[in-house]
Subunit: 159 residues, 2 copies
């Protein structure tokens, strides 16, 4: 089962290495990881997506909580959250197919960020399903390059 884990940490060096080391020491491969500053510049939030054995993950979470620079660990498994992934995707596109790709982008509310002689670069955000669906649709035009942030997640407000 896939888990989305949010780790709030103090913005000191070595924290990221210790956290990713903890997962790999337990044989856990990280599907994606994103680190960014929060509302407080001294605090960063790391969003990690992993899959694997539940009981091992529970141990990892406990150990994360014990690390000196870790403030809070949250497994979003049972929470009502919004997940978002961002990709930049460069697709082969000459004059002939450019309009077709622009049309696909519009359907996905994606943004064209660069147009060149033989390529077009598009920014897509959404949950994983949406991003994957977009990639599948432009695949026939041949993909030159994909850069992806990995998922971040936030809890919905109380209704």
């Amino acid at each position: 089962m896939k888990h989305t884990i949010s780790v709030q940490v103090e913005n000191k060096f070595g924290v990221l290495a210790r956290i990713s080391g903890l997962f790999s020491a337990r044989g856990y491969n990280i599907d994606s990881l994103a680190v960014g500053e929060t509302e407080d510049p001294d605090i960063s939030r790391i969003t990690i997506v992993v899959h694997g054995d539940e009981s091992v993950l529970e141990q990892v979470t406990k150990q994360l909580n014990k690390l000196p620079d870790v403030i809070k660990v949250k497994d979003f498994l049972k929470s009502n959250i919004v997940k978002r992934d961002l990709i930049l995707i460069k697709v082969f596109a000459d004059k002939k197919v450019r309009a077709e790709i622009v049309e696909i982008a519009a359907i996905f509310r994606a943004k064209i960020v660069d147009v060149a002689k033989e390529s077009i670069t598009i920014e897509v955000t959404g949950n994983e399903d949406k991003v994957v669906a977009f990639i599948d649709l432009v695949k026939p035009y041949k993909i030159k390059e994909i850069v992806r942030t990995g998922i971040i997640a936030i809890e919905r407000g109380e209704k």
Copy 2:
């Protein structure tokens, strides 16, 4: 000076821990880091933003190149690139100010992803300046939470 470094790696475990360890061992703090899959599921791309001493960074880059699972390292300093950051930001908002915040979001082509009784959650993408400008504009309404992916970058196509 801020550097945006792209590291293409084989999708094996421990790679991320080794890479972030290499930076912290040299006293380099990572401003942001994002890891995601690429067009090839066996290969991930890590985008790292760091700042610090140039000569040390050169050494780090050389060492990165020597790591067994590292395929390619690129410092985007002199490249013509598109940079994008994604944030999810939850702002306090009751009925009275909701419309004002929605208006700010529209100006930034940001998307409303959740509306609750006392909060509104917005998705913003853009370069760092845009994201920072948006955060500054909604700050007076009080920010509840920010989650950020960290920057990813892609080279523009040849004109």
